[in-house]
């Protein structure tokens, strides 16, 4: 009898998380995809997430409404539709101060949710597409954050106490955007049906936010056609 490990996969519907879902599937995991609506400007990503979860064979896909926390943090982040702040354009991602697109405690909250579901599912892993190289400089994308959450997850859960800790898998953590795009390309990921833009118009990317800048550079450096549709 063979055993197929279950994995919860954080899936935003962007380039990184869709690649991670493909990688988890390619490693033979039974994937359970988890997405969040939190009032983000780019809520259209959730439609990509739905289609990608189906396309990449996820056993289940949950889209959680975290609109309440979105409203509580809206004044502190430009990424929320209701925020008075504007998404910065034509900056150099990852340099300088943490940009105002940072959402307070977002990855902590997403991972906490994933941890609860993983433990209930008896899943052994949580996969997520954090990246600390070509990224916007968010504190909760750094390797030290991931290590701290791993320690927490082991201490926090019955699974951890009983010697079956739930493991975080972050295959993109040290890759460049170009390497990520190439990895996904090899797995035939349909990048035309992902959206990375922080501030899209419908399903058209703005082309100027940090996320668009990183994505465009990634395809360029990977020497692969960029299927992104810009406004």
């Amino acid at each position: 009898m063979s055993f197929t490990p279950r994995a919860v996969v954080l899936l935003s519907g962007g380039l990184d998380s869709t690649t991670v879902l493909a990688l988890a599937a390619a490693e033979g995991r039974h994937t359970h995809a988890l997405s969040f609506g939190y009032g983000q400007r780019h809520a259209v990503e959730l439609e990509c997430a739905r289609r990608q979860a189906a396309r990449l064979g996820a056993r289940a896909h949950e889209v959680v409404d975290l609109g309440h926390v979105g409203r509580l943090v809206a004044a502190a982040t430009s990424l929320i539709k209701a925020s008075p702040l504007a998404v910065p354009k034509d900056a150099t991602p990852g340099l300088g101060a943490i940009p105002n697109t940072y959402v307070p405690a977002r990855n902590t909250l997403f991972l906490a949710y994933a941890l609860a579901w993983a433990e209930a599912l008896d899943a052994s892993e949580i996969w997520l597409g954090v990246n600390a190289l070509d990224y916007s400089g968010y504190p909760d994308c750094r390797p030290e954050f991931i290590a701290a959450f791993q320690q927490l997850a082991t201490l926090a859960t019955r699974a951890g106490v009983e010697g079956r800790p739930i493991t975080l898998r972050t295959p993109l953590l040290h890759l460049s955007k170009a390497q990520i795009v190439r990895a996904g390309h090899e797995l035939a990921v349909d990048y035309a049906d992902t959206i990375s833009c922080y501030d899209p118009t419908g399903s058209l990317a703005c082309g100027h936010c940090d996320s668009c800048t990183l994505r465009r550079q990634g395809f360029l450096q990977a020497e692969l056609p960029d299927p992104t549709r810009y406004a």
Copy 2:
């Protein structure tokens, strides 16, 4: 000009968290109370939470609907109304294996939410009523869990990176239930309007779950009248 620190306080409406809210207020904090509905059998506690937040002068009180995660974990915990499991009765709390009233990743999720709100509020503290002495043996009530979340909170947030880490305050961590009851009694906490039972009938406590056992012993050892109304 004086500065009054803001604090987010996790408030279930039970004995411990209500005492913590009173302690934070007594230390001069501007309190922002945070409660969660997750399909718990004892959702009646949220009505106590609402009244206690008003009574103890909270500046704000948010009751967050986490029913989605409640449904995802219902099969793994007896504490959820929709669970097929039964709440254990007449056990000895804290001895033996983790009981089935354990809710996967509950405190991680509650704290993640509190961290997001605290950062958006520019609050410097999160107060919570975890207790590792007279408790049900949950892994996410232990001092090592709190220390791990503190480390995570500092790494995860802009506040932490910029040298203003949000501090966890756990004044009950090493107190006995009797000491907690006495502390609250001195602050005139209205314990008649708190409910601790895991499995109440309306607002009447069952008298036999771990939480009822610990509460009853606490009042007895504190030599204070127990205002709990039992079924």
